[in-house]
Symmetry: C2
Subunit: 470 residues, 2 copies
């Protein structure tokens, strides 16, 4: 032996236990494109287009500018990895994942996986795209890696559950694990190495809700770092760094430390692998507000149309919802900023009632100063509804009870909102959303955008994953 710590420091003596996470890694590391049902492939492509749209729309945000600046001043200014919306810049995987992870989580239009309460696209796609570009992966492998990333992120999120979500931004904490797994898949890791990548990622899991209280930029920091650090974890594992074997269920792992452990059980992590696909359980966002407001928005719009009620007729609204919604939305209820306004139930319903929609262009600085929106906002109260709470997070139900100025009372409940797995968007709607968000981000090269749509719909035929910077 040398004078010093030997390379593996005896760690190879400690056996890797066959936990549900190990089973998931074993399954994932040997998954191939041929194993994927066609609807899984189709839905992954749809989420990729939807993710590109969000990244394009968010590219001008200050959080993105600061990360582009970091890339230019502290990263390599050459490399194979692209940054969406910055066609003159290429870099290494960890920086590309960083910037793309930030930009795709700015405009609140990226997907939401219901039962895990997390946004998988904004962490999984930046990681998978960056590594796919670096290693020259085929479109088929990229798709498969994203499916793997969704499984890890969503299953970890489900296992951590509501008690975790009430304290931590699950998109970041489960997201870093999904990003690591997707990157690990593209690096052709075996199950044990993938377990190291995931373990190193999980011990870095972080992301507090404090930013919601003062509208600062941590939301983008969380997704950027989850994507980038997931990639970093996979590359560290690639060069021999070992992660904890039992990061999820170990005595000092994520469940024991970061959640009550009571919201689910360990078996959820490797249940029905190859039969239940996480990409199939994720929802497209139609409205541009926090996903917790969508059931109430849909219920209100439906009620107003059915009953012929107008915004100015309404004197009081109860938005019946689940506890997690109240916990998160209460933090931003005053809506001092544009971003907070998308997290304020009162303001979002005010916008929906007055505009008839809650689109990205409905949330502006000017809107914050419209007296009728501010007055309407005060008429909205969130109410904890036991039935809705019991169904959450498997179902994100909502109900509104409206009282008009003339004393009429109406109520409307919704079970499925537009964009949910049960009421998904058509390809035409996805394409329209893509073009609208690209326009919002001032990307107006129509032929290039059309060509991108075509390439995404045929992603499994692409020899490589280059050319998505615009």
């Amino acid at each position: 032996m040398q004078n010093g710590t030997s390379k593996l420091d005896g760690i190879n003596k400690i056996p890797v236990p066959h936990t549900p996470v190990f089973n998931l890694a074993s399954w994932a590391s040997s998954l191939t494109f041929a194993d994927l049902p066609s609807e899984v492939v189709g839905r992954t492509k749809s989420f990729y287009l939807d993710w590109l749209a969000s990244a394009a729309a968010g590219r001008n945000h200050v959080s993105v500018a600061s990360m582009v600046n970091l890339t230019k001043t502290q990263g390599p200014m050459t490399g194979k990895c692209e940054i969406v919306g910055f066609s003159d810049l290429t870099t290494s995987p960890i920086f590309a994942a960083l910037v793309n992870g930030a930009s795709s989580h700015v405009v609140e239009q990226d997907d939401l996986h219901n039962s895990s309460m997390m946004h998988p696209a904004t962490v999984v796609f930046p990681a998978a795209l960056a590594v796919a570009q670096r290693v020259g992966a085929h479109g088929k492998d990229f798709i498969t890696a994203c499916v793997v990333g969704y499984e890890f992120a969503c299953r970890f999120g489900e296992r951590l559950g509501k008690s975790h979500y009430s304290k931590f931004h699950t998109t970041a904490t489960a997201g870093i694990v999904g990003a690591a797994a997707a990157a690990s898949y593209l690096l052709h890791h075996d199950a044990a190495t993938m377990l190291s990548a995931v373990g190193t990622a999980g011990t870095q899991a972080a992301g507090l809700w404090q930013f919601l209280l003062d509208a600062t930029h941590s939301k983008q920091v969380h997704t950027a770092k989850a994507a980038s650090d997931g990639v970093l974890s996979a590359y560290l594992a690639d060069s021999g760094l070992l992660g904890p074997h039992e990061i999820l269920e170990g005595k000092r792992g994520m469940v024991a430390t970061l959640s009550s452990g009571q919201d689910s059980n360990p078996s959820i992590v490797d249940k029905d692998l190859g039969y239940q696909w996480s990409v199939m359980g994720s929802s497209f966002k139609w409205h541009a507000s926090c996903r917790h407001t969508h059931p109430s928005v849909d219920a209100l719009l439906s009620l107003m149309e059915a009953e012929g009620v107008k915004a100015q007729d309404i004197s009081d609204i109860e938005a019946h919802t689940y506890k997690s919604a109240i916990e998160i939305l209460s933090l931003s209820e005053k809506a001092d900023t544009v971003h907070q306004s998308k997290f304020s139930m009162g303001f979002v319903l005010a916008v929906a009632a007055h505009r008839g929609s809650a689109k990205i262009t409905d949330f502006t600085e000017e809107a914050l100063f419209e007296p009728e929106l501010r007055q309407f906002q005060k008429r909205v109260r969130m109410v904890l509804d036991e039935k809705i709470e019991n169904a959450f997070p498997e179902k994100w139900l909502g109900k509104v009870v409206v009282v008009t100025k003339t004393g009429q009372k109406f109520e409307k409940e919704v079970e499925v909102v537009k964009g949910d797995p049960g009421w998904t968007l058509t390809s035409e709607e996805l394409e329209a959303k893509f073009l609208s968000l690209a326009d919002y981000g001032k990307i107006n090269d129509t032929p290039k955008l059309s060509e991108t749509i075509e390439r995404v719909w045929h992603l499994e035929d692409q020899e490589n994953m280059l050319g998505y910077a615009f």
Copy 2:
């Protein structure tokens, strides 16, 4: 207004509250070298030498190799920032901080700040050195930045307290904040910008103890990422990214989310600024094992010498200690690897009893297979001692009760261990430790090492902070 989110998104409307953390940032951002008492300057220089020693000793570890590889393949291969022990490699601040943060936390010889239960040097120095090299800072500014980093790291650690430490690796979670503050100081940030840097750092605070159970490499990942991400947070703040204003005490901040909040009170964060200095409360490590074992090691060695007891005479040892020690050391008690062996009270006392010391060269792969050490290890039990628990973490007391094979019973209590603020190392001992650790890391250029020692003792006269790679 533009079509899109405006640059500051209305956040400038939200006033920055004058919390204890804001007071600390105000004080820190206007601190100058002239404000530092000479003993504070002297002690900071000593810790810097001690930190260089740890980084030199740890440079050949697999975790360091994997991060050097990451730097070479994903970072810039040019820059002003050096990596200790790798004189042929320079890069940008976030990569230099990453590698130096890993290497200085390998051999368990870096300092320990008692009342915060964290190791400040391994996170503060890598961050401060990297940024100082990048901006061309004078030795005086480097020293001041390190003092600032210690204040943030240690005060955050104290505030988070024992309940936090039982779940999280405080060196990482408070460390990232200290690293951010040190970097922020060197970037000449005002108080509000430093608050953003610290807020962005705090929302990334992570680091679970799970790695202790299977001896994997997260310990180095935690310090590397804390140092690097602290630097990243300061640079992001520099280009306008806003962090949460109340990351520590906010409703969803670090105290509310990551601790019981009951171990201390908020005033600890800005108490006696300029009078109580955190660098004065940190301890040098003399033994090469987990700091929680040191009181027992010193008590045992002292008892054996005073009573003439030899290792083979001992049939039973009770190591009386505090709860945090039992919680952490229990995770590695089997001592399957060299690293775990330094975290096993039984094994550490076995080594101390047989070797008469617990030096870096006493913990080897061979030692793991010595039957007499393994037999001795089984004779050691940790016992929770109420008096010791009540004094912790302000004082790290220890007591051993030894029963010999002939039935004699001895006990010895220690109040202060070698290296503690009350029994600090002399410059000669620090120099000897430096040379010994450099030798352990196979750095043997004696003139260069002597010259480094001289430069550190005159750090306040150095025009720049270049030249510490060896």
